[in-house]
């Protein structure tokens, strides 16, 4: 068990100064706390600093850092937002590719891309550096993904759409074609989360993996499917990106 200390608004939302919460990693403890204390707490938690046994833990390390004996959840202090962001390390550079014939043709507005961006920026300290809408066209998807992976400009590419069993759906195939390695555990986790809502999640064909120093991840095309899938893995994507970036170029 980890003794979780809560301060200021986090304390008020939780209704307590401290709580015993189980979990072996920082991410597990935070997820438990968020479930225990509700959505408003979870939202605040995304902007909090976390100190474990007197050491400030980097957001990218949540999935691997041990929860320790004492874990403090610290809201931003009044004079410190710039500084805290600087302490939190390099921001994640995210690119969002919406794959949809109809959105590309302008038949409807792309709502999923912006929804994915909102989750990425609020839950992962990400900056969206590139975005595009493309038709369900394998060679076009391939061209854009390849271009985005060049020149160390993006840490994480999130596609949405084209992952089902319709004959036009080719996003996983285009993605797989350029991956150096696949990371099936990421999509297994997303699918497991989706199955809690609908058995149709079993029909999704998303792939994830790494090309060069960039992590690529397919999300479903619906707003709900895409955001819930991303929510299911946000706590491990930072670590995935950090690992992909580490080492010699």
């Amino acid at each position: 068990m980890t003794q979780v200390l809560l301060f200021a608004r986090a304390r008020e939302l939780a209704g307590t100064r401290s709580a015993e919460i189980s979990g072996t990693t920082v991410a597990e403890v935070l997820i438990q706390a968020e479930q225990l204390f509700g959505p408003e707490f979870a939202e605040l938690c995304a902007s909090c600093s976390v100190v474990v046994d007197d050491v400030l833990v980097h957001r990218f390390e949540y999935a691997t850092a041990s929860a320790g004996a004492e874990l403090a959840i610290l809201p931003p202090v009044s004079g410190g937002s710039d500084h805290v962001t600087a302490q939190a390390g390099p921001e994640l550079r995210v690119a969002v590719l919406t794959v949809s014939d109809r959105a590309f043709a302008g038949e409807y507005e792309d709502l999923t891309g912006p929804a994915v961006e909102a989750v990425a920026t609020s839950r992962m300290e990400a900056t969206v550096v590139l975005r595009a809408v493309v038709a369900d066209d394998r060679s076009e998807i391939l061209r854009i993904l390849t271009e985005w992976c060049e020149g160390d400009q993006v840490d994480l590419i999130l596609t949405n759409g084209g992952t089902g069993l319709a004959r036009r759906d080719v996003t996983p195939e285009a993605t797989r074609q350029i991956l150096d390695v696949e990371a099936p555990g990421i999509t297994e986790l997303m699918r497991a989360a989706g199955l809690e809502h609908t058995p149709l999640a079993a029909l999704s064909r998303q792939v994830a993996g790494r090309r060069g120093r960039t992590i690529l991840l397919n999300l479903p095309g619906s707003v709900r499917g895409a955001t819930e899938s991303l929510e299911a893995v946000v706590h491990i994507l930072g670590h995935a990106c950090e690992t992909a970036r580490s080492g010699e170029p």
């Binding site: 301060f7 608004r9 304390r11 809201p75 202090v77 009044s78 004079g79 410190g80 937002s81 710039d82």
Partner: protein, 149 residues
Amino acid sequence: MNARGDAPATPKIVSGIESDPLNAAALVDSVRRDDCGGIVVFEGTVRSPNHGHQVLALEYEAWEDRAASQLHRFATEVAIEFDLGAALAVHRVGRVEVGDPAVVIVAVSVHRDAAFQAAAALIDRVKAEGWIWKKELRSDGEIWIEGCD
């Protein structure tokens, strides 16, 4: 030793988290010294109005033992960096009324330049890094201030 060769050998450090009202004059007296000719005092006081809201008071909360050791460390590091004769950083917790000091910073130096710079550096550090939060008690509600205001 600084370039002028006349900096005090050992800076005096005063720091703390206080739940009672701060007496800035008494705090300044605690760090005066004859070998220093410049004392810069910063008082951070509770202001009203703020962003168009009438403020009744501020309620400060700290991670008390950590914030106390942070203030001591910030004051020590700034004193060393600027060759101060003394550095003081004391912060309130609890309810602080409009016009009253929430924080007092004092930098004591042989000459004034270092004292001005050090006082600015020290309050910036306390505000940005100290585990101290404030809730604004307004005539129309309460709000935690998170991030730069």
